[in-house]
């Protein structure tokens, strides 16, 4: 047997260690180099229909920009919230990304210098001609951390509204009319329950369907003419969530949840599963957003309408706004990459992309061309008509969780207790307000 000397063994071990480190460094260099060849883009289009559409748009962009490769990463909404900030700050995240608006995500990233303003591109490409200022304002953050003011950090490709999905066939089979006002709506609920049909399809174990329901009922109590109170809350200018409308909404939903108006076992069903059950014909009503249009259009009996407002509210607010914004991160370091990112976003909010989304059954935030040649589904036609009406009324409401970084978690924690009937509606609203006031205090 060959006798290996101490020195030789030590040298071998050192060489092995050195080789391992060199391999790691080389591997990293290859990854960096690969990234430099293309535009790294993160989006949250994980539903099947959405994913196919964004892939189609990416291919069209690549075809129009020879030599450019889009390196796409798709993340669910929750995964995006978890990983985006860390990935960008670590230096291996996207150059262009979708970002959830609000204090917890866009606000935090702006504060840490992880996003770049897009105002120059708004001017260059005329995005302000394609979308209203009230939509673009949702992507503004001032240097002092004031939401809705200052530079703009993104723009969205899709509009979003939370409304009332209803299954016309289920209603007809039960001999009930499509409700046109709040009283008819509650009368329908009672009659459906009497007939043994679940009035509401809902699932609360995952996603945020309960939050959207509570916000929808609550904001239906707010007339567009008196929306400034809600705007002030969302944009962090102050106010209180302890309003009569919020308590009434929480009470109503608690009554529905404990009174047998919800699909049995809703506490153990996810929001996505609830949608599939609704598409399969279970339940008469479902409160959720236009992002489910792609799934909902598989059942032609399903329609979409604004949530019926209580008596006396002429132009009720509709929860919604825009989907996550397209933003340019700090990882787009040089002017050429930033301009390429700007062009990519410009394409994503272009009338051409809007038409592609509309053809796939989704609601674009950019106004569709008048001469657009496509056959919209009934559901999408209802969505587009509602979008126009809501915007004309200046009645596009807000997602409550945008107002404070920890509010989504606070609402998620309190909602099961509200729905189980072991938390008073006043306490539920109080928990939301306490979180919000703590955030306001932390900003001072």
């Amino acid at each position: 047997m060959r006798n290996i000397g101490k020195k030789s063994l030590g040298l071998t071990a050192l060489k092995a260690t050195g080789s391992a480190i060199a391999a790691c460094v080389f591997g990293l260099a290859v990854v960096q180099s690969a990234q430099a060849d293309g535009l790294n883009v993160w989006d949250d289009y994980t539903f099947e229909g959405q994913s196919a559409t964004i892939e189609q748009l990416n291919k069209a962009f690549e075809a129009a920009h020879p030599g450019v490769t889009i390196n796409r990463t798709a993340r669910t909404f929750d995964d995006m919230k978890l990983t985006l900030k860390l990935a960008v700050s670590a230096g291996d995240g996207p150059m262009v990304t979708k970002v959830n608006q609000g204090a917890g995500d866009m606000g935090t990233m702006v504060k840490e210098g992880l996003l770049q303003p897009v105002d120059a591109y708004i001017t260059k490409f005329g995005w302000d001609k394609l979308q209203s200022d009230s939509l673009i304002a949702r992507d503004r953050w001032s240097d002092k951390g004031q939401f809705g003011e200052g530079p703009t950090y993104g723009i969205s490709g899709l509009g979003e509204m939370v409304g009332l999905f209803y299954n016309k066939k289920v209603l007809e089979d039960a001999g009930l009319p499509v409700p046109t006002n709040f009283d008819e709506f509650t009368a329908d609920l009672d009659k459906l329950k009497e007939k043994g049909i679940a009035p509401f399809m809902i699932g609360t174990s995952k996603q945020h369907m309960a939050l959207h329901m509570i916000a929808t009922v609550s904001q239906a109590h707010v007339d567009a003419a008196k929306r400034s109170t809600l705007d002030d809350l969302i944009y962090g200018r102050g106010g209180s969530w302890k309003t009569e409308g919020n308590v009434t909404a929480a009470s109503l939903i608690q009554k529905w949840a404990t009174g047998g108006y919800f699909y049995p076992g809703f506490q153990g069903i996810s929001g996505d599963d609830a949608v599939q059950l609704f598409v399969a014909g279970q339940g008469a009503f479902l409160i959720s957003g236009t992002w489910y249009f792609g799934d909902m259009q598989n059942n032609p009996d399903i329609h979409f309408m604004p949530f019926p407002a209580p008596h006396g509210v002429e132009k009720p607010l509709t929860v919604g706004g825009v989907d996550l914004a397209w933003s340019i991160t700090s990882l787009a370091k040089d002017k050429a990459t930033q301009d390429l990112a700007g062009e990519y976003i410009n394409y994503m909010v272009s009338p051409e992309a809007a038409l592609t989304w509309a053809k796939a059954g989704y609601l674009p935030s950019t106004i569709l061309p008048d001469n657009a040649d496509f056959q919209a589904s009934t559901l999408l036609k209802e969505g587009i008509a509602m979008w126009k009406q809501v915007n004309a009324n200046n009645a596009l409401g807000h997602y409550p969780d945008w107002s404070a970084p920890t509010l989504l978690k606070t609402i998620d924690d309190a909602t099961p207790h509200l729905l189980a009937g072991d938390m008073k509606p006043e306490d539920f609203v109080g928990a939301i307000d306490a979180d919000y006031q703590a955030y306001l205090a932390s900003k001072k």
Binding site: K85, T204, S205, G265, I269
Partner: protein, 298 residues
Amino acid sequence: MKLRSKLDAPVHKNLIYILPGLILYAAFVFGPIVSAVGISLTDWNGLGLPTWVGLQNYAGLFSDERFYLSLKNNAELMVFYCVLPLGLGIGLAAILWNMKPREQLMLRTMLFLPYIMPTAVLGIIWAWLYNPAFGPINQGLRLLGLGSLALPWLGDFTFVLPAVGLVATWYFFGFCMVIFMSGMQRLDPNLFDAARVDGATGLQTFRTVTLPLLLPEIRVVLLLTVIASIKSFDLIFTMTRGGPANATLVPNIYMYQLGFQLNRFGYAAAVAIIGAILIFTVNYAIHRLVRPADEGAN
């Protein structure tokens, strides 16, 4: 004294041979532990510069109701992670021990099967099994006319913890059984013959002969399952994410929420450090308390 091998050289001269392993250990185990201790002494949102706060995060934990709730849930889960698998494992091992080799092999393999699956996958499968609308458990209950028992298992405050815990029991009992069976193999058959001659019943033999002699295996099983219960994350994350309303919140899920959802990485690191201390303390207690009477202190 003449060296038998180059490797019998003094430690400092051989250190070079373990250097690659040491570097990896330092980079992926020791370094992160030290970092976590450091981060736990700061207020850090994961993006900007951390601010030194000393022991403030630890002080905060002592008045944090959610942290206590997570510890309480973890204690309850230990019944499902440790006590039930141990009881089932030892009972099944005793039953299988008296079977013919072929039957024993078949049953042992079948009962061990859950343990070879990743717990994250098990969580997803069991979440589907528990689904109130189309899960087979509730479908079966309705088929048997027991519709009133078809509960939303993972959305019910009372039943969610046992529902998740039973999956852990199902995962671990086969593993415990195999450990106990391997322990039984080393027992001297003469002891059982002597017990039989003395007229001991099967139960008496199990209680007074088998059980005390299996204490080393019981200790191993307890150590491993207690560690698994305190570091439980994937099963709960895939099934409930700590919900509904924190009913299945455990320290590791809480740490994840604090860090990745609420951007409180300093406080999250403090939870992690306390969890690690907890594991060391409980395991030290098991190590000291669960041992044969004739085993000396070590």
